[in-house]
Amino acid sequence: MNSATHAAIEAVWRIESAKIVAGLARMTRDVGLAEELAQEALVTALEKWPQAGLPDNPGAWLMAAAKNRALDHFRHAKLVEAKHEEIGRDMEEGFTPDFDAALEDDIGDDLLRLIFTACHPVLSTEARAALTLKLLCGLTTEEIARAFLVPEPTVAQRIVRAKRTLSEARVPFEVPSGDELGSRLASVLEVVYLVFNEGYSATAGDDWMRPALCEDALRLGRILAELAPEEPEVHGLVALMEIQASRFRARSGPSGEPVLLIDQDRSRWDHVLVRRGLAALERAEKTGGALGPYTLQAAIAACHAQARTPEETDWKRIVALYDALAQLMPSPVVELNRAVAVSMAYGPAEGLALVDAIAAEPALRGYHLLPSVRGDFLQKLGRFDEARGEFERAALLTRNAREVRLLLDRAAALHSGLRVVK
């Protein structure tokens, strides 16, 4: 096959697939079937376009082809007459010359329905993520597998099972309303952020599909912000992702070692993304209501983004934001972060008191950042022997070779008398 045409088809698919699947899902009320029909349309395009060239409106072409498939499918399946007629009528209306415009009006709603369905809590988080990437981002099963570092058959099975679960649970193709909306939206945002974090945790030498997940998540978030502009937490999540993504280049050193936020070269931050993040945060705050967890985290990230140097960081504001976050979602990890902020704002002794208060938390057992943070406070307080012990303990708890090196170096420095207070 002509590789230029192939690349063009791939690009068209990336732009159009979600809309096609969403439109078909509204007609068939079956997300799994919709996705299969859309795939069949893609196969037809792959057969025909290399010879015939790309049609003027490839999206409409694919949609028409998929609708034809749907019609065939229902004829063969000999559905109950009523259903058949309903679908048939929908199809015929769909084939009026202006169907593209007619479709356009609803497509946003359909996309939103598709997102909510793919991220339905009846599915496991992994299944939601895989299905979302497949249905909304147009990724292939193989690409998803590479991105998540799992075998392709595992992802394929995850998707098949997810579709079956949705159909068995009779999950309606709709945007939830009322009381349900809050928890369902949380489920959607969780999936988007999970995809983002999976990409963000990629390290040098990883398959490029992994960091690309960040872009997919950002795109999804930006789409969601357009579809549900009245939801502050959607903007909050977008803001959080934009600001975190802005640090992508600065967060690792020349040999791939992680660079802590405080030590990052701020000129390497991506300022286009910082600006977008701050704008999204403003939208979240303006949309009203109490700040949600994503908006609070974005606000914390923004404090760092707005400081030209680490010394300019408004730590007192960060402490206040962590206070609010800890109230919304109490967790030992949030407490640990809060302790770090407190130590920066009010001194290491205050930070140490907070860490010691949560040191016995079962959730933090085996968490290397606990001794690592504690060691840092102790070092700043001049309690070098205790600090060394903490760094050594932390080194035993992490599996990341580069971090082990870093921690052992710090411990060794304390041992050899190079007791520099940072």
Binding site: E10, I15, L218, E226, R249, S267
Partner: protein, 142 residues
């Protein structure tokens, strides 16, 4: 990847100061901008006033020389731009194809250079300096 889609409207090189495009074309373009926004690919975009309201600064023999617009020698001038973030050059092209352009309009697609493009071509010190400057500028603009 980031791409600039540069809009080059033929005839704009001689447009009068304050000339604005036809409202119908503006409406179509706004719809297109909305589509880019809704698809989560648009990073930024602006329209530009005609060259007759601008100026050119040239540097022949190292000395800046200012020429007020319009510019007799210019055959193609910019009317505006979009910056988009997409997965491939082909996807940028597909987006450009969806623009409701008129007969006289051309969109040029150019990939935005990123620091990693320079690595290996420029001494690391220079790259760092360039990025530091860029950071400073961006912060000033905020």
């Amino acid at each position: 990847m980031r791409f600039m889609m540069l809009m080059i409207p033929k005839g704009y090189e001689s447009a009068k100061p304050g000339a604005m495009p036809d409202p119908k074309a503006v409406a179509a373009m706004m719809k297109y901008n909305e589509d880019l926004q809704k698809a989560g690919v648009m990073l930024s975009g602006e329209g530009l006033h005609p060259p007759s309201m601008g100026a050119r600064v040239s540097f022949k023999s190292g000395k800046p020389k200012v020429t007020d617009g319009p510019f007799a020698e210019a055959k193609e001038v910019l009317g505006g731009y979009w910056m988009i973030q997409v997965k491939s050059r082909q996807e940028a092209i597909e987006w450009a194809k969806r623009c409701p352009g008129s007969d006289n309009e051309v969109i040029e697609i150019r990939q935005v250079q990123e620091a990693s493009d320079f690595e290996g071509n420029l001494p690391p010190k220079l790259i760092a300096r360039e990025e530091a400057l860029r950071g400073k500028l961006e912060r000033k603009n905020r």
